[in-house]
Symmetry: D2
Subunit: 338 residues, 4 copies
């Protein structure tokens, strides 16, 4: 951390700042110039509150040099994290496709899709029971009943399941769920993240619509800091000025997150684009960039899906996609970018 | 709503679409061209799910004409909503300043700030007990104890209080709070919004960092649809490429929200800019644009505030600001933009 | 095009609007509802000025249905455009890598890089003679002398060359250049585009930092409308809130541009990321998404490049990249997204 | 400038870096920590190329501390720049409104508008002769003939004129123009900026759609570095995810630019919003925030304007606006933010 001190600081204030920094066990290196003074801080700065420093009259600017996250930082955890999800491995070279419908609609629907995606090669089943919808008048999901149907589909197929939690109060219902998903809109629901840090299930955190990679990693750090060291990161598109797709898929997030952290990184091309015909090219691109997995919406009857049908693949299209992905995988980017 | 049908649609699919639309009590007007066909829908389209339509093979595009919100739509509620908050009126020409510290830190601190801001002219007191912080290692607020101190400050000064809820489970603690704030990160926490729709307290909803005005209004519609018709909208800056301020304050939101909706609209220049010296110019600009109120961070010792000190005003600076705002108010924009 | 007319329009104004639309040879279909009236326009609307319509008192909104570009629209040009650049083909299944240094610095440098990239498999040579730099104090390129050195490298290697024009006045110097590049900052320099429409050279247009795909296609339409029907589109990253890379590479632009237009689409992973270690994963991702080519910065001594060394590959790294790209190409996305 | 050196750097490379920095007359202060080393550079770093440093293997990151602009930096020029434009003063407390039509359409039109805006209180006349239009099929302006009509309107009213240049080749036609405008799309047309630095006319530079304030100031630095020290900065809205207005007006740019630079800062609420009914609230907000002037589109017949009629005011509405602005001005933000 570097602190830029204003020109001609009040000596008493400067001394008080230096004393406080030393009390935090920081080594302080001073560089004096004509127009300013730099204080270089050496030590563990992850707990120094940058806002506190910025509020001081004598401080002009503060530049962070070290990342503010530690438990999810590859610098301190050079080996890839490998998760074991009901016998299915993810990360560290273990690639998985998570597939299923946006919403669970009926037992027939979820079981039919589950059998299809398993046959096509999916390793995990997804399906939404609690659905975040912009409009209070739109279908909000089957909720508790939906979770039961999802677990039934899991029993029939043997596929572990991933499904989204929307509020802490729903946590008891997730006892038999394999992976708990935190949606983009909840990526900074810190009460939820902290509580999930006390569970022993893998948590799949989707990047918020306008979240930086550092913020995503800080949300993973919340879970880790509670003791749960099983997190999957998911890039699903960010909000930009571009209005032709629902979101803008930021694939540079894949090599960057894998460089900054040891956590597995997957990509959701369905939500990222919102358009079924873009799912295949973006899925292939994500794999080429080095993603550890994909999350894809599949529906047996997209035109009558109760939500997001526009971006869902048919089981046939999904089967084609899995073949394409598997063919491409050996030629994907390997290793860590620097 | 206008549906753009692809060239040469399958006649059976087209008939099935037309039948479905009519079953929803829509009048359908057909315009046939060489390269496409347009279906103009006339009727209440707020409950038509645009995703369902987009998923149909024969549909190329769907354009919404009417707003998807009704209960917070000025078209159906031409008169300004006026809220009575413990005797303090907001909206419809009643201007209020909400002031106080980012975080409640001690009884001395919150009471001292409360007396100062009341003396300077604030109408309501703010103070955070539950604090959303990006880092799990940063100060998270005094929580329940903080709420007690805030209510004590309210008793001493008579100022009604505004404070943020972060999770549904905290709701019982908010019984004596006057206005419940939903923060930017929770603007699309739909479970929370739905439950707040069953309370009888004014809800202050802050615009999400990357939320459109329509999404903000849909979140207010969630609260209204539960029966609680007391909502205050707050512009607090959006996330853009511009990196010199914490957020980019979007002041055009003020006249636009007041045109689209009858709800009161306030502005938070402290979070919008993150820099104390920009609070005054942006507060004056917000008032000039027609805001119904301001929300301003004030701390008796900004340099030692436990969070966001950088953007807090001293009581003296706040007093100056109130004087400036009151002097400018008679010359602010009046009325509704078209 | 659909015109939304306000409730209870003035009948004389409405008649005048209808007459004007008919004078433009539009068929107008009227849908009347309780709260508004829709006018569906059928005919060639690409020359209708949307601003003119929006300015009318009786018009509430205008929604465009048809694309405003025609000459670069795949609807009217279903077959891929294939360019022949000094014997090197691009588009329609012909994949090319354009490689070379950001700036031309000396004859040794440009010739050395040219021989290296040719040996590694590049089809065209790039090199900047006129350099757009944010700072007036930064190296601005070798200008005319640089073009001469670039052409000498072309003679030695037989590689056709691509280089950027910054101002119309430089056009006479580009007589022997094979492809003229219009940089991101000039994408909407309409005087330049119009004049390039009168040349008979392929024009490579880079997407502006905050340009929509429609705006990029309209810039290509400028060139086509002058008679020059040879344009290459290049995605090179857009500006978003994300600050960890120089720009955010928007790879969904690849399948979308190829769906909307018949022009070849290439990707520049060097400028998109600004970081050498991200060039390989992003290049592979671009190819997987279906790009017709890549544009990559290569420098024989990146650490001493006079500009953008940070994002340049060494000749060895480039050779590895070409091998990786060629291995992956058979498994890339094929065809047009719907 | 602070250079973050990687852990365990190659000693020879480190020595070579230190030597190079000293050869540039930099004082280098070293702070050594466990995980990295910081080099604090003291001296004039405005000419150090950050890209060159970043390209070095041993460098992990570079943080700029000082602004890269000097001639337009308030630190070195504490007093406001006051321009004298044909007897009309702008800056340093001298407030001006620039008004007129988007496009010059005929002598009657421009002269009629000129007389109206002068009577209402405008200090300068604007009018576009060369028009940047996204579509090659839209009206492109009257060009040379338009400039003649504008100058005739200037002669009749005595108002100095502001008009946009789109290409260097047009410069000879601007001999009698008072202020040359560089539009948002040309803000980084460096060839144009450099040449305008050799004229002796005030240059009005509009902020690019996705330009940071630093980039805007660097463009002004281009003009200053050529010898022309007369520049006006104009905020006109940036491109964000928000789609309800044409652009998002960033009013915090006003106090920030005035803090960072001594140049006058004006605001264009017409282009920023694209909607006539938002011009008044945003103009008042801009003035409240401390702007030195406004640029407003006025047309005698907005519904039949050949471009941008939607955002133009009638002469009557403009007269009202001027009255409102003049009434509010005494209560606007004064002084420099810190």
């Amino acid at each position: 951390m570097v602190i830029v001190v204003r020109k001609d600081p009040d000596p008493a204030q400067l001394q008080s700042l230096m004393d406080w920094l030393k009390s935090l066990n920081m080594d302080v290196h001073v560089s004096r110039g004509e127009n300013m003074m730099l204080l270089g801080l050496v030590g563990d700065t992850s707990t120094v509150d940058i806002d506190l420093l910025m509020a001081l009259d004598i401080v002009e600017d503060v530049k962070r040099i070290q990342e503010p996250y530690k438990k999810v930082n590859r610098k301190f955890h050079p080996d890839d994290l490998v998760l074991d999800i009901g016998g299915v491995k993810l990360g560290g070279g273990n690639f998985q496709i998570i597939a299923g419908p946006c919403s669970i609609e009926s037992q027939e629907q979820i079981c039919s899709v589950a059998h299809s995606v398993k046959a096509a090669g999916a390793g995990l089943l997804r399906g939404g029971a609690f659905k975040p919808r912009t409009s209070p008048y739109a279908f909000q999901g089957m909720r508790g009943k939906g979770l039961e149907l999802l677990l039934e589909a899991s029993r029939q197929t043997g596929l572990p399941v991933v499904t989204e939690i929307m509020d802490l109060s729903q946590l008891p219902l997730f006892e038999n769920v394999d992976v708990i998903q935190v949606g983009a809109r909840n990526m900074q629901n810190f009460e939820l993240l902290r509580e999930l840090g006390h569970t022993n299930k893998p948590i799949l955190i989707k990047r918020g619509m306008s979240s930086t990679l550092e913020e995503l990693l800080m949300s993973a750090e919340y879970v880790f800091s509670g003791g749960n060291e099983q997190v999957i990161l998911c890039e699903r598109g960010i909000r930009t000025f571009s209005d032709i797709t629902r979101n803008t898929l930021d694939l540079s997030a894949v090599p960057l997150l894998k460089k900054l952290s040891h956590l597995p990184v997957i990509v959701d091309p369905s939500h990222a684009t919102g358009i079924a015909s873009l799912v295949a090219p973006m899925a292939l691109a994500a794999v080429a960039a080095g993603a550890d997995g994909l999350m894809v919406e599949v529906h047996n009857d997209p035109a009558h899906a109760l939500c997001d049908g526009r971006q869902s693949l048919t089981p046939e299209a999904f089967e084609q996609l899995v073949k394409g992905v598997n063919a491409l995988r050996p030629y994907a980017f390997q290793g860590i970018a620097r």
